[in-house]
C-alpha cells in the first residue's frame, strides 16, 4: 500500500458514514413532524446525552461505572440552584453545571482508577450514594425530599422562551446533544481518543509503549462527567424542577441498560438505546399503565437472549438495501 493508502486507512474512522447522516436526519424529521411528541423527544435527547457520556467512560475507556448518576444529579442541582439564585441564562447554566460535574469527576477519578473492575463498580456506586445522601440532608440547598422548587430559567439566547408544549425545550436539548456528540466524536478520533481506546483494549501494552495511562483516563473520565452534568442540567432547565430522583441508583442502572441495548464503544449506542428505551416505555405505559416495566424488562431480556446483532441486523440490512437501491 502507498503513502496515500496508509493516510486514508488512518483517516477512515473519522469519515462520516451514510448511516450517520440518516440517523441525524431522522431525529430532525421527528422534531419537525411530531410536534405533539416534543416532551418525549426532549426526554430522549437528555437520556441519549447521558448514555453518550457513559459510553465515553465504559465503551471507549473501558471503565465500568454503576454510579454515573452522581454527575447527572450534580449537574441538575447546580443548574437548578443557579436558576433559583437569579442566574437565569440557560447556556451559562449548562456550562457551570458541566464544570461542577467535571470537577467532581476529576476529584473522584483518583478513587475510581485504582483497582479492578469490581472495585470500580463499588467506588462509583458509593460516590453516587454519598451524593444522594448529601442532597437528602442539605435541605436548605436542595429542598431535600421535596425537591428543588422555584427554578427560574430565562429564554435561550435571550430569544427563545421555553413553552408549555416543550417545542423549545426539545430543540434546545437536541442541539446541545448534537454539539456534544460532535465534541465526543472529535475527541475519540483525536490521537488522545486512540490512546484511550488502546488503554481500554490492553493497559499492559499501552504502558509498555509509554502511554501515561492514569493521566489519560483521568482526562476522559472528567470530560464524560462534565457531559453527564450537562445532561442533568438540561433536565433541570427544561422541567424547572429537580428531585432526589436525579441521583437515584435506578438512574445509573437505567443509563447502563440503555447503553448496553444500543451497544458500547461506537458513540451511537447510547443514542439508539435511548430512542428504543423511550419509545418502548412510552408505548408500553400507554398499553398497560401498571405493568409496563414488566414488559419492558421482558423485551430487554429477550433482546439479550436473541442477541442484539440479530435483532438490529435485519432492519439495518433492509435499510442498506433501500439506500443502495436509490
Amino acid at each position: 500500500m502507498t503513502y496515500e493508502g496508509a493516510r486514508q486507512a488512518l483517516a477512515a474512522p473519522r469519515r462520516w458514514q451514510t448511516m450517520e447522516f440518516d440517523f441525524w436526519l431522522a431525529i430532525l424529521a421527528a422534531y419537525a413532524l411530531l410536534p405533539e411528541r416534543s416532551l418525549l423527544l426532549n426526554e430522549t435527547a437528555i437520556l441519549g446525552l447521558f448514555a453518550l457520556s457513559l459510553d465515553l467512560v465504559l465503551g471507549i475507556a473501558g471503565i465500568v461505572s454503576l454510579g454515573h448518576a452522581a454527575f447527572f444529579g450534580l449537574g441538575a442541582y447546580t443548574a437548578g440552584l443557579i436558576g433559583k439564585l437569579g442566574l437565569t441564562e440557560p447556556i451559562l447554566g449548562l456550562l457551570i453545571a458541566g464544570l461542577a460535574a467535571g470537577a467532581l469527576g476529576f476529584a473522584t477519578s483518583f478513587l475510581v482508577l485504582r483497582g479492578s473492575d469490581l472495585t470500580r463498580l463499588m467506588v462509583t456506586l458509593s460516590v453516587s450514594l454519598v451524593m444522594l445522601e448529601l442532597a437528602n440532608r442539605l435541605t436548605t440547598l436542595t429542598g431535600g425530599a421535596d425537591g428543588l422548587q422555584g427554578i427560574v430559567i430565562g429564554a435561550v439566547l435571550g430569544t427563545f422562551e421555553f413553552d408549555m408544549f416543550g417545542r423549545v425545550a426539545a430543540a434546545y436539548s437536541l442541539i446541545i446533544l448534537f454539539l456534544l456528540f460532535l465534541l465526543a466524536r472529535w475527541l475519540v478520533n483525536a490521537p488522545f481518543g486512540l490512546a484511550v481506546q488502546a488503554i481500554a483494549s490492553n493497559p499492559l501494552r499501552s504502558a509498555a509503549i509509554g502511554i501515561p495511562i492514569t493521566r489519560r483516563l483521568i482526562a476522559i473520565y472528567s470530560i464524560a462527567a462534565a457531559i453527564a452534568g450537562i445532561a442533568g442540567a438540561l433536565l433541570a432547565q427544561t422541567t424547572q424542577f429537580v428531585s432526589l430522583d436525579v441521583l437515584a441508583f435506578h438512574r445509573s442502572a437505567e443509563v447502563m441498560l440503555v447503553l448496553v441495548i444500543g451497544g458500547t464503544g461506537y458513540l451511537y449506542g447510547g443514542l439508539v438505546g435511548a430512542v428504543l428505551f423511550k419509545l418502548l416505555q412510552d408505548q408500553l405505559s400507554d398499553l398497560t399503565p401498571q405493568y409496563w416495566q414488566f414488559w419492558l424488562g421482558l423485551i430487554f431480556v429477550a433482546l439479550v437472549v436473541i442477541g442484539r446483532e440479530r435483532v438490529f441486523g435485519f432492519p439495518q440490512a433492509v435499510w442498506r438495501r433501500i439506500r443502495g437501491g436509490v
Binding site: 500500500m1 493508502g5 486507512a9 483525536a190 490521537p191 486512540l194 490512546a195 502511554i211
Partner: protein, 247 residues
C-alpha cells in the same frame, strides 16, 4: 565507555527468596545479546526489574550511562528502554497501522493531542509505514489485529516496540508459540532490526539464540552463571550441567 544498558549488583529478594542475585552485565550500543537459563532462573524477574515493574532491593540500572533505577516504567520507555512480551500484548480491535501510528505518536509526544489528526501528520504516517515495511506487515496494515495469523501478530509485537524508538530492546521469547514453519519469518524480522538498537533477547529456543546472538548470558538461580560467545557457551560444561542436570 558508556554502554546502552548496564546493571550493577542488581538484587531482588521476595521475603527469604533471592530471585535476582548480584547481577552485573553490560550491553554495548547495537549489541545482539541473548539471556538464557532454565525455568525458574529468574529471567522474568530480571525483565521486570529492567522495565521498572519491580523495584530492585539493591543495585543500579544505567541506560546510556544514566541511572534509571528509580524511574517510572513509562519514563524508561521514553528514555529508550522498550520491551516485547512472551504472550502477545496487542490491541486486537485496532489495525497494525493504527497500533504502530499510536506508538509513533507517543514517541513524538502526540498521544494526548486533541487538535492533531495522525493521518495529517506526515512524519507519523511515513515512519509508521517504515516500521510496518521492515516487518513485512504492509499487506495487512489495515486489517484488525485480531484477524492476523499468529506469526504476523508475533512480528507486530516486535514492530510495536520498534516504533517506540528504542535504544535498548528487550525481546521476551520472540519465537514463543510460533510453529516451525513460521520461524524463519521471525528470524527475518529479527535480522531487520535497526543496527543502532541494542537487543537483549530472552529465549528458550537454542537454535534461535545461536543464530541471533553474538554474546550469551547464562542465568541460573538468579545469578549470572557464565557468559561468552555462542561457541564458548555451547562448549561450557557448566552450562550443560545446568540444562541437562548432570551432576
Amino acid at each position: 565507555m558508556t554502554y546502552a544498558l548496564e546493571t550493577r549488583l542488581l538484587q531482588r529478594r521476595f521475603g527469604g527468596l533471592i530471585a535476582t542475585s548480584d547481577v552485573s552485565f553490560t550491553l554495548p550500543v547495537g549489541g545482539r545479546y541473548a539471556l538464557i537459563g532454565p525455568n525458574g532462573a529468574g529471567k522474568t524477574t530480571l525483565i521486570n526489574l529492567l522495565t521498572g515493574v519491580l523495584r530492585p532491593s539493591s543495585g543500579t540500572i544505567l541506560l546510556n550511562g544514566v541511572d534509571i533505577t528509580a524511574r517510572r516504567p513509562d519514563h524508561r520507555v521514553a528514555a529508550g528502554l522498550v520491551r516485547t512480551f512472551q504472550i502477545n500484548q496487542l490491541f486486537p480491535k485496532l489495525t497494525p497501522l493504527q497500533s504502530v501510528a499510536l506508538a509513533t505518536a507517543r514517541r513524538m509526544g502526540l498521544d494526548g493531542a486533541l487538535r492533531q489528526r495522525l493521518d495529517a501528520n506526515q512524519a507519523v504516517v511515513q515512519q509508521s509505514m517504515e516500521v510496518l515495511e521492515r516487518f513485512g506487515l504492509m499487506d495487512v496494515m489495515a486489517q484488525p489485529v485480531a484477524t492476523l495469523a499468529y506469526g504476523r501478530q508475533r512480528l507486530l509485537e516486535i514492530a510495536l516496540a520498534v516504533a517506540c524508538g528504542p535504544k535498548v530492546l528487550l525481546l521476551d521469547e520472540p519465537a514463543a508459540g510460533v510453529p516451525e514453519a513460521e520461524r524463519e519469518g521471525i528470524l527475518t524480522g529479527l535480522a531487520a532490526l535497526p543496527r543502532d538498537i541494542a537487543v537483549l533477547m530472552i529465549e528458550h529456543d537454542m537454535d534461535l539464540v545461536f543464530r541471533f546472538a553474538e554474546h550469551i548470558l547464562v542465568l541460573a538461580a538468579g545469578a549470572i552463571l557464565t557468559q561468552g560467545s555462542p561457541a564458548q557457551i555451547s562448549a561450557d560444561p557448566k552450562v550443560r550441567e545446568v540444562y541437562l542436570g548432570h551432576s
